[in-house]
Symmetry: C2
Subunit: 331 residues, 2 copies
DNA sequence: ACGTTTTCTGCAAACGTTTGCGGAGAACGT
DNA sequence: ACGTTCTCCGCAAACGTTTGCAGAAAACGT
């Protein structure tokens, strides 16, 4: 592997000089010398060793991004958002798939410390909680930003107003004339779920519709569970439901499948509305109406905040991005 | 940040000793001393600096994984396969999203060199070709493995027999009585596309069905294009097509949407078969029949080969994994 | 009792960078 | 002519590890 020393020898200068043209410091270097060095670099195919550099500078220009499960279509957009601005700003991102496993999260956290990443972006409260329980933050002064609700007030977060968005979605359903509205939820320890449920409840209250516990189907955000929950509900219940508010798109799509299999038309017999606006939502038939979360922008913003954190800028603790009700064909 | 020196001082030993218990070398260290060091490590919350280590060892235990687009549901399974065995073997993986951009690929390749990754796994021939054109391999003795067809005979690859699998899929259609079979392809410079098209052609030939160029719809593997291509075809052509062989699932799903919108029943009016078996395939209605590619295993195998490469083991240049015809509801 | 082996520990060099400091020579002002 | 400033360059220390080598003490064999 060719080192800076080789370049120096080849260009007949000291390594100091090579380093200086490499980093384009304000330190003056003669233009003819610079040219010679640049040539040597090209001829030898020299690429500076990031480890040596990082060791000295105590800075890696690398950040870790912890996602729960990259297979979940929600995450790739976040990743892309983070990556895009990271690239603009000269950062590399190490993607860590926690796969919802506490053990895996811990392992990755260790790797990230050993690699001395400059910061970590968490998606979802779960991972942050795991990390907190491992006392990760106490002994590691690494900067963090959370996408979603941060369990710790000191950590900056970028999020979306779930209760309001959820309320708007349900009120739309109500405006359409629906009074029998089922909601399908995610895991209950998720603050996202709590908030979206709260929005649902508020919409009902505000319109004088009684809240019925049988109408909230507790699931886990996955396709299968949405499918099964609704299938079961239709078999068992003799209430005539006219609308379903799925707390994410993945379940909404499972729900639509169950509905179709029962011979119910969407939206004529049952209206469906989802949440997130994953790409898939416009692929299904009928196209899914949903609450559009600016997923990509969530990623971008998180990375921007991270960068500000690095450079010591003042940052706002909580950034809220707007959602939008996206009416397609399912309601 | 606490260093090995701090640990040494705290445990009242030399850093040499700390390093030795850290790496559990065969070099003897008194058990009581070891205990003391271990305590110091825990008390101080010491995590060895991977950069310092890597600098000395000239080995990072890190590999790069280049994928075209993580949003494409095909890739997450690969990523997971690679990650899983990487973790087992003590490697970290840096995920690089090329987003099908030559520029982005080049940029990432540079980052990977500077970080001195031990090896790179490429998915798809495109990225390898880009890299080759940048003379990446000549000046970088980094080990590589390719998932898919390698354009360079020296690089080990793990792949699937596309022509045979494709042929089997089409022959199944023919056995079902179909003679008017349209195929929808991906970008023509992809060897995958060439092979799958070849399998289609072979199946026709072997069964005395003429190959008609109007029946191959040239697309780009994306949902939208599949949708539009078939929509257009149905509008224009007066041939009565009874089956469609989509060269990947994403397009197959787009095709199904187009079909449904034209009022055609699947599979009664038109049978559809896909390729890949992405998770989504079983979510749609009707569930998509497809050629199951062992995507996850592709990833696992690639990483295993990479590891063998690192340890200098003998490895086979080409590994072929079996596909399986997965008949669900769409044909 | 004394050489030999074994067990344990530490010194110091090396890995490839960055950068504070200092020095040589040219340019400049008077 | 001589101090001062400016431009350009290099020395060497430092970043945090690993490991070859050597040495001290203990255990062992005779």
């Amino acid at each position: 592997m060719v080192t800076i020393k080789d370049v120096a020898k080849h260009a007949n200068v000291s390594i100091t000089t090579v380093s200086r043209v490499l980093n384009q410091t304000e330190h003056a270097v003669n233009s003819e010398t610079r040219e010679r060095v640049l040539n040597a670099i090209k001829e030898l195919g020299f690429y500076p060793n990031a480890m040596a550099r990082g060791l000295h500078l105590k800075e890696t220009k690398t950040i870790g991004l912890i996602v729960q499960d990259i297979s979940n279509p929600y995450y790739p957009s976040i990743v892309r958002g983070v990556e895009d601005v990271a690239q603009e700003l000269g950062y590399t991102v190490i993607l860590a798939n926690a796969y919802r496993s506490r053990e895996r999260t811990t392992k990755y956290l260790n790797v990230l410390r050993e690699k001395r990443v400059d910061g970590i972006i968490f998606t979802g409260g779960g991972a942050v909680k795991d990390a907190a329980e491992d006392n990760f933050f106490e002994r590691n002064p690494v900067s963090t930003v959370v996408i979603g609700k941060s369990c710790n007030a000191k950590m900056p977060s970028v999020q979306v107003n779930n209760v309001q968005a959820s309320r708007e979605a349900c009120e739309h359903l109500i405006r359409l004339g629906h009074r029998q509205i089922v909601t399908v939820t995610g895991p209950e320890d998720s603050t996202t779920v709590v908030d979206r449920l709260e929005g649902y409840r508020q919409a009902l209250m505000a319109n004088g519709i009684p809240y019925r516990d049988e109408f909230v189907l507790r699931c886990n955000f996955e396709f299968d569970e949405g499918y099964k929950a609704v299938e079961r509900f239709l078999d068992v219940s003799n209430d005539k439901v006219t609308a379903i508010f799925a707390q994410n798109d993945m379940m909404a799509i499972g729900i639509m499948k169950a509905l179709k299999e029962k011979g119910l038309k969407i939206p004529e017999n049952v209206a469906v509305i989802g949440f997130d606006n994953i790409p898939l939502a416009s692929f299904v038939t009928p196209m899914l109406s949903t609450v559009a979360v600016p997923i990509y922008e969530l990623g971008r913003t998180a990375m921007r905040i991270m960068s500000d954190l690095q450079s010591g800028h003042e940052i706002s603790r909580i950034t809220t991005l707007p959602t939008k009700l996206l009416l397609r064909q399912s309601c």
